[in-house]
Every structure is written in C-alpha cells, then in structure tokens.
C-alpha cells in the first residue's frame, strides 16, 4: 500500500507550464530610481509616489522577520525585477481582444473565463503578472455604483478613494514585507461598494505569477460603505519554476457601519518539487478593519501551495458589536513550510471573533498555526472562540500550534480548543476492506476534517477546493 501512496505523493504539479508571452521586464534591483520608474510607468499622481518613497524609507530601516517557524535562505531582493507587464494593447473592451495565448493559459488552468462568467455569474478581474488584462461585468456592477477594477485604474479614475483608504489598515511601516509592498506594488484589485448596496454577485480575481524571477507585489483594497456587503474570491495558481519567486501582497479591507465583507482565497502556487527545489515564497499581509458598528469581516482561506507561507489574515474589531471570522485550511506536503493563522484585535464593545483553523501536514512538511487573540481594556463583553485542529499524514511531517491570548478586560470570554489527529494505516485498511482505494479514502477523511471551513466557501470555490486538496494529498500516507 505504501508504494501506491508514495507514487501519489510524487505526482507532478498539475499547473506547471510557462506561457510564452513577451514581457516588459524592469532591470533587477531596488532603489529609489526603481520606484520612480514604476510610478512613472504607471503615470501615478505625486501623492502615490510619495507614499511609495516613504514606505521605501521605512523599509530600509527594517529587518526581515525571523520569528516565524519557517526556514529558507535569505532572499536577495536586489536579484529581483520589480516590474513586468505583458506586452499588448493597454485597453481592452471585450474578451475577444485578449491575447489568445493568455486565454489558453486559463483554459489549461481549468478556468474557462467565458464559461465562468456566463455560468457562475462571477466578474473576473484577471491579473496576469502585474497588469490587469480584462475586467468583466464592470458595466453591470457600475449600474449599482460598485467600482471593481485594477488598482492602477482606480488610481487614475478614483484617486480620492484610493488616497482616502490606502494604507489605513496596513500602514506603510507595518512590517518588512508590507513596507516593501507599499514601495513597489505594481497592481492589484480595487473594490468599492457604496452605501447600502449588496453586491449582486461574487467578485473574483485570478492571480497568476508568470515571469521567472519576478517578484509579485499585489495590492488589494476593498471598501464596503455603510450597510454594504460583498463576497470576494481570490484564487491563485502558478507555473513550475526552478528558482523561488517572492510574493509579498498586501490586502486591506475596510467595513463601515453595518457593512459585511467576506474574503475567500484558494491558493495553489507552485510549492517546489518533492526535494524542495523551487516554489513560491508567499509573504502576505492581509488585514481587515471592522471600523463601523455591527460590521463584519470574514476571512476564509484554503492554502495548499507555496514553498513557504507566511500569512495572518487579521481583523481589527473597532466598531461596537463588530464580528471577525477566520476559517482556514492549510495543507503542506513534501518540504513545504507554512506559518499561518490570524490576529483578532478586539477594541470595540461586544465584539466577537471566531477562529477555525485546520492544518494538514504530509511528507516532510511543517505546518504551524500562529494566532493572536487580543482583548483590549475598552472591549467590554468581547468574545472569542478558537478551534485549531491538526492532522498528520505519514511519519515525517510536523504540526505546531502557537496561540497567543492577551486579555485585558475581565468581562471577556475566550475559548480555545485544539486537537491533533493522524490518518493511520488502520483507517485506510478499513476503507480498503470496503472496496475504497487509498486515494478516495484520504480524500474523504480530509474533506471530513475540513468540512467546517469548506462550508464557509462559496459553492463553486468549495468544489474547487475539494478537488485541489484531493490532488495535493491523495495517498500521501506512507
């Protein structure tokens, strides 16, 4: 049985191919001139250039964080090119104008864009390397006053909104990778849901890193005004490369009074081969500000890819009665390392947060949950419930839990539950004796384990996530 399982573990990465599109790539290295060049290329206003330069200055004084339970050689940030744009017509009015090669890439990824748009009713803002290629359904969304576009376009078309909110949740000097992002980000998504509007469809972005050794510095900003609500989907895949790629994105969410933002991610970046060669370094800062009363921010993530994941989608619960949620499945295999979790910062009264984290480690991988629950003195009646479950597959994987709980208000209620389990040979034998092979068995056990998180995903994403997990893990018991 072990041999069968071994073969399955060593299955090659399904999305490993490189699309041949000419790229306009900046020379490697980072200094003020690089930043000025990015800003000029994008014809940005002065305030944004200043924002970048200020971030750069902050970044220069910072050191790369070393507290995470991940180990990797130092990244040479001077060996990275900070700008790459696919060479093609800058403005596209319909999908017919999109480079057919690009469309084929999405076909290979199993994301037939037309079909997705038509069947799922999802507006897809396609980010290919760093420049948005096509934004769909924009007209329809515009009818209700929703702005959904690339960050570059938002800077041009809605500078006042961008200026008002950019960097308000993740300040320029927040952390090493966020500061770097603030200095050099090239593009990303911008989403604005005006007062009282319920977004009529899920908004979705497909990210894809495509140029070798190009750092990706996406910047996403989502604002839900009073009483507005939106569900945003982010899905990622990347082609197989032999050298590591750095990805340091920043995502900021702002929810005003009674607003509701649900942000879902399925991440499947290249994780490196079974020997740990290659793979994406994913150092992401995601944070939501539940600014208004009764506002709600919910993060759901399914993390299956990347050689290294360093990611803590957090919620600052500032408004009274605001709600923060974090539902996570993190899967590691081979030599992958993940240090992921969340921060729930309770500032307002009667704020509530829920954390459900499911970590699955296979191969020789290491999977860590790191979470902070902080109840500040003014947060009367705050409540948190945390549940962290780990599942080990095979004999050589590791699972770690680092919960930090800081309570400075006596009226708070904080609960933390944790468990560790293992898929054993005896479970697989039981399935086998009922005619079910190891692949299907592992898939079923894992899906059962992740049920609480998958239930939070939008329907089509849940299906995708289930398949992805199957692909990553089937038969990884040794």
């Amino acid at each position: 049985m072990s041999q069968v399982l071994q073969n399955l573990v060593n299955r090659p990465y399904k999305h490993g191919f490189i699309t041949d599109i000419e790229s306009d790539v900046a020379p490697k290295g980072l200094d003020e001139d690089t930043i000025r060049m990015i800003s000029a290329k994008k014809s940005e206003p002065d305030w944004l250039l200043e924002f970048r330069l200020k971030s750069y200055q902050a970044w220069l004084k910072m050191a790369e964080p070393e507290w995470a339970n991940v180990h990797y050689p130092k990244i040479d940030l001077q060996a990275i090119s900070y700008y790459a744009a696919p060479k093609q017509k800058p403005k596209l009015n319909s999908m017919d104008e999109v480079d057919p090669e690009l469309l084929r890439t999405f076909e290979k990824l199993g994301v037939p864009l037309h079909e997705r748009m038509a069947l799922a009713g999802v507006a897809v803002d396609v980010v290919f390397d760093s420049v948005s290629v096509a934004t769909t359904y924009k007209a329809k969304l515009a009818e209700v006053g929703i702005i959904f576009c690339s960050m570059s376009e938002a800077v041009t078309e809605h500078p006042e909104l961008v200026q008002k909110y950019l960097g308000t949740v993740v300040p320029t000097g927040d952390n090493y990778f966020a500061a770097l992002n603030s200095a050099v980000f090239t593009d990303g998504s911008f989403c604005f849901i005006p007062k009282g509007v319920k977004c009529p469809m899920d908004l979705s972005t497909y990210f894809r890193i495509n140029t070798e050794e190009t750092g990706q510095f996406e910047r996403t900003l989502i604002i839900a005004e009073e009483g507005a609500s939106v569900s945003y989907l982010e899905g990622c895949t990347a082609p197989a490369f032999s050298s590591n790629q750095l990805h340091a994105a920043v995502v900021e969410l702002v929810a005003l009074d009674n607003a509701d933002i649900k942000y879902s991610t399925v991440q499947n970046w290249y994780a490196g081969d079974e020997k740990g060669v290659g793979g994406v370094y994913n150092f992401v800062t995601k944070r939501g500000l539940a600014k208004g009363v009764n506002s709600r921010i919910s993060w759901t993530q399914v993390e299956t890819g990347s050689a290294i994941t360093w990611k803590y989608p957090s919620v600052i619960l500032r408004g009274d009665n605001s709600v923060g949620e974090f539902y996570s499945v993190a899967v590691t295999n081979h030599l992958q390392q993940a240090d992921t979790g969340t921060k729930m910062i309770h500032l307002g009264k009667n704020t509530r947060s829920t954390i459900v984290s499911k970590g699955i480690s296979a191969g020789r991988s290491n999977n860590s949950y790191r979470g902070l629950v902080k109840i500040t003195p003014p947060a009367d009646g705050a409540r948190n419930y945390s549940q962290c479950d780990s599942m080990l597959i095979g004999e050589q994987s590791g699972a770690h839990t680092f919960p930090y709980i800081q309570v400075r208000n006596n009226s708070a209620q904080v609960e933390h539950e944790a468990s560790t389990s293992k898929i054993g040979e005896d479970q697989l034998f039981y399935f086998a004796q009922r005619g079910i092979d190891a692949e299907a068995a592992v898939s079923m056990i894992i899906n059962g384990f992740c049920k609480d998180v998958f239930q939070q995903l939008p329907m089509e994403f849940a299906v995708e996530a289930t398949q992805l997990l199957g692909l990553k893990l089937e038969g990884s018991v040794g």
Binding site: Q427, F429, Q433, G435, A440
Partner: protein, 263 residues
Amino acid sequence: MIHKDSKPILEVRGLCATVNGIEILKDLDFTVRSGEVHAIMGPNGSGKSTFAKVLAGHTAYEVTAGSVLFEGNNLFELEPDERARAGVFLAFQYPIEIPGVANSQFLRLSYNTVQAQRGHEELDPLEFDDFVREKMKLLEMSPNFLDRSVNEGFSGGEKKRNEILQMALLDPRLAILDETDSGLDIDALRVVSEGVNQLANKDNAIVLVTHYQRLLNYIVPDFVHVMEAGRIIKTGGKELAVELESRGYDWVGVENKATMALS
C-alpha cells in the same frame, strides 16, 4: 447449508504468515464452499484473527508460504480494496473510528464502488438513502446512524451492527465475521445474528471467528474448526462447539496430541 451444487469459494493450502517476524499461521489448510457456514474457534492467540486479516490483506502481516484461492483465483494477487470489490468481506473485531466522515457518505461510496465493479448501477444520495434505511430495519438501527461519523462514539454493539449493515449492503461472496459476538448484550446478539442469517444464501459463505459457543446458538454452523498455534487441529459439526463449551480447548489439544502420537 451444505448443498450438492456448491462451488469452492475459499481454498487455503499450507498457509504460513508472520507479523513482525513472528510466525502466527503455520501450515493452515481450510476450505469453504458456497452455501456453507463455518465457525473457527480457539483460544486467545491461536491465530484466528490473524487468519481473518491475512485473507483481507492487512499490510502488517506477511504471507511466507502457502496459497489461497478465492473462487479459483489467486487471492494474493489482489490488493485489499480489490479483494473487497471481488467479494471478500471482513467484519472487524474492533471497527476503527473515522471522525468527520459521515456514515451515510462512507456507506454510499463503499456501496457504489462495489456496485461499479460488478457492472451494476450506482445510487445517488436520495436513492441510496431509501435503500440503506431498508437494510437498517433488518438490524433495528436508528436512522440517526447515517448522520454520525463512521463508528465515532458508537457503543460496542452499535459498531457491530454497523459492520453487519455493511455486509448487508455489499452482499459479499465470502463474509468473515471476526468476533462479531464480543461486546454484544443478548438482545443485540439476537438482532445481529438474525441479520446474518437473513444474509446467508446458497451462493455465499460465512466464516465466523469466535471464542464462545453462544453465537452458534443463533447462527448454526455447518462446520466447526478448532484452531491452535496457527493451524486447524480439529474439524467437526455443530456439536463440536457444544463439546468445546463444556470441556474447554485444552481437551482438543490433549486429544490432538494423543492422535498425533498414535499416528
């Protein structure tokens, strides 16, 4: 029941098997024909459960010699899941818990996998629900079994009922019931036994592995075998079980040694 049109289902010849290098089965011979019910009895450590697991293909056991034909084909050429789909069923002595996996999902996947192998139509969740509820009546099981995780938090009796429910669903050619009577109170024993009896027919065969004679009051075997030190040392009819109950296993061992000394 023994009948004249019966076909061989299981033919075990000179089977030897080890676990962690220790020989447990030693030159075991055993034959089962369709329509028959066999009981294998014997003291703790005699190799009964090992035999059951070797037939099912548990990876912890290594077959070192001998052959097993299942319906005329070499059983050892099949992986454990292939054996199950071919019609070998093992009701486990200690069914393992599978947290998070709903029993209904598990049962349906198992059923459909085996059905597909036989070229039969698979059932969708609604059809399966009707089908499985019907089978559950046979075992007097409450429908809430379906929503619970597989065996998780089940009492000993509930686990055993769940095993026999799976037997009922999969309709195996050969069912090996490993200590199915252990941990059952008298009512549960009756229900489970009646279930097994209803599933027995002229085309399949049942092998009961048990310690005690009491199960055989409910499921009447055609043959009773006594196992000791990894082999079958005595075979008889159902009256052998009664005799074992009153005289103990030592009696067979002593008698057997005497027979061997004479021959």
